[in-house]
């Protein structure tokens, strides 16, 4: 049994952690949060130079071809640092969709630009309230022309291209849904930034008016491709969440060691210790489940749908719990703008709600376990 990252992968983690500690301290996150820029362009460029954007993209398409375990390692560090860049949209969603279903020409056009940091991509799926569902897709595609509105689209106002879920028929089946690739700079799309819980990341509404688009993958397989993309992205996002959870736990632990009240460090009170112990439990369960997800993702195992839902639920719970309780351990100072606790609190919920919320993944997990048991 070797259920652990390799020494090379651990070295990559250390390298990424050092890089982000230098290039992405909390003040970098705050600059975006406070609206000084839409994302941190210098950090984005640096990530490209380090090869982190193309870590799972094959060398023939401009990546380093290292693989998905390496991408999991980077994702965890991005989550720890709350990196204010469109990494998840571009790398977990757009690049994964292209690698799964793109034509050779589409891959040649976009993947090298993703790896080099020249292109930001995203997935335009949601149309208002609700979780991933074929029925909820109303935006229409006819003769390669899209009409409709998508919101929220993560990083929609800063993206160069989007993978768009569109309706091509009204049979009521999932085969009515097709995926399209849209160059957002090519006209026919209007992007409007929406204020959101975590302003260190962009959320937008995209309005498509007679917008020209090219199909991505077979027309009838849109939903099936999308489901696979969501599973893959769920594992990667879960690593970001575990990175955030661990950092929030460390912040709480460090504060409990430093802060003196009633003549002793507050970390010597059992009421505070038990909060932190429960945070450790949640973070540990989530990490172990994420490793299972990483194994399934990197080996394309048949267990991926179940493993992805498991990792996603566990990591969502852990990050939300740790970010929330970190503020509690900090007391009043944790509720100030000045302290960084709220950055983690905001990000924990923003990540929990993207890609389908907790209740969606809970439902998916039980459905998938039932199917496996029935089979």
């Amino acid at each position: 049994m070797n259920f652990e990252f390799s020494d090379d992968q651990k070295q990559l983690r250390d390298q990424a952690r050092r890089f982000l500690a230098e290039k992405c301290p909390p003040k970098t996150v705050r600059a975006v949060l406070e609206g000084k820029e839409a994302y941190d362009k210098a950090l984005w460029k640096g990530l490209a130079e380090m090869g982190f954007l193309g870590v799972a993209i094959p060398e023939e398409f401009g990546g380093t071809g290292a693989g998905h375990l390496e991408l999991c390692v980077i994702a965890e560090e991005m989550g720890r640092a709350l990196a204010p860049v469109p990494f998840s949209s571009t790398v977990y969603l757009a690049a994964e969709a292209l690698m799964l279903a793109g034509s050779d020409a589409q891959k040649q056009k976009w993947l090298p630009k993703i790896a080099s940091g020249e292109a930001i991509g995203t997935l335009a799926l949601f149309e208002g309230t609700g979780n991933p569902s074929a029925k909820a897709v109303k935006l229409t595609a006819a003769n390669g022309v899209l009409n409709g509105v998508k919101k929220p689209v993560a990083d929609g106002a800063i993206a160069d291209f989007a993978i768009v879920a569109a309706r091509t028929g009204t049979s009521g089946r999932e085969t009515d849904i097709a995926l399209y690739l849209v160059d957002l700079k090519g006209g026919g799309v209007e992007a409007k930034t929406l204020t959101n819980l975590d302003p260190s990341r962009n959320q937008a509404e995209l309005t498509f008016k007679d917008c020209k688009a090219e199909p991505l993958g077979a027309a009838s397989e849109g939903w099936s491709i999308l489901s696979r993309v969501l599973d893959r992205a769920a594992v990667l996002l879960a690593f970001e969440q575990v990175g955030g959870a661990d950092r929030a736990l460390e912040m709480g632990r460090d504060y409990a060691l430093d802060r003196i009240a009633f003549g002793r460090p507050i970390g010597s009170f059992q009421a505070v210790k038990h909060i932190l112990a429960d945070m450790y439990v949640a973070a540990t369960l989530a990490r172990s489940n994420c490793y299972y997800g990483a194994w399934a993702l990197s080996t394309n195992a048949g267990e991926l749908p179940e493993a992805a839902a498991t990792a996603r639920i566990s990591a969502t719970q852990a990050f939300q719990h740790c970010a929330k309780q970190n503020i509690q351990v900090h007391g009043g100072m944790g509720f100030t703008w000045e302290f960084d606790c709220h950055l983690y609190y905001r990000r924990s919920n923003a990540l929990a709600l993207s890609l389908g919320s907790l209740s969606y993944w809970e439902d998916q997990l039980i459905e998938r376990m039932r199917k496996k048991n029935a089979a």
């Binding site: 010597s268 112990a277 540990t284 439902d363």
Partner: protein, 414 residues
Amino acid sequence: MNFDDTPQEAAFRAEARKWVEANAPKEYEAELSQASLGRITLKKGDMVEVGKAWQKKKADAGWACLSWPKEYGGRGATPIEKVIWQQEEGVYGKLTQPFQIGEGMCGPTVMAFGNEDDKRRRLPKLASGEEIWCQLFSEPAGGSDVAGLRTRAERDGDDWIVNGQKIWTSGAHYADWGLLITRTDPNVPKHKGLTMFFLDMKSKGVEVKPIKQANGMQEFNEVYFTDVRIPDSQRLGNVGDGWNVSLTTLMNERMSIGSRLATGFPEIFAFCSELMTDDGLAIDDSAVRSKLADWAVKSSGLKYTAYRSLSALSRGERPGPENSIGKLVAGTMVQDIAAFAMDLQGAAGVITDPAAADAAGRFQAMWLGSPGMRIAGGTDEILRNIIAERVLGLPGDIRVDKDVPFNKIPTKGR
């Protein structure tokens, strides 16, 4: 990242599997498979006698107490080999329950502190199941606060005379030997006046009384000592050093990773998959799904946490602290799962009669027994303290009795 054995591990597994296949008491397989939580009773035989026969057979073939040295009845196996053995032993591992305290706690302590004669006399018989050991630590006045124990041992020539009472002793009613911690000096602070011994449980003055638990079962005992004589040669470690000796015992307990904790998740998933309600199958209800999913990821998280520790063992490293979460998570899960299953049963959830109750009353039995899981072997609160102090590095609690002579510590609240 993979779940595969190394070639050496695979060879070891194949050998173990072949031996279990050829030698296991298959007549008990079905009963052992069904038993998931709580004490096991066998219809066709006495649990301890069947267990002893299986342990002896294993010992004769070199499959008992695998990680112990060969001269003391073990195999000299690596930690990962021990885990592989446990996986291959499968349901028959449940038969080893009477010997686990001996193998995991008493034996290693004797090995570390006993004299060579005693080690050669006692340990092989412990390994082969011919002699069963129990651990006599907890007392009415010293549960979580083990060092607050009051059982006295006083020197008398080459012997010690013991008076006092222990409690929560598993298996004392069938044990041959016991590991006993006593107070030998009440005039010094509590951790400094303790001394460890082992004793013959048939000694004059030892009286074992079963404890009837809140769930009606009897799994533990009280043990009374009245002028019990123990030769000084059966002292383990120096006089006054009993606390450090006990830490060795407890450390060995925490190193045992292979044992799989029952969570109740497979049972509740199966129950909800089959339970028909007015609105259809319970598992199709979104509120039920949400709870099941929460328990599913906890259960899976525990499984893969154990795999991470096994990976460290496989590389010949010490596992990290991650495994300390196991019982804390599982104890509450069992209690919550049992309560939820009964809630789904409505008014009928009150019935415990196996012939009339849903799922043969297993959730009712689980619920009645579950408070014990959150207490035995370290309460939830003590486990959280351990995680906070030893894993997260938070300061220890302020101990008001730390530098006070034991006989000056208050014994009454009000």
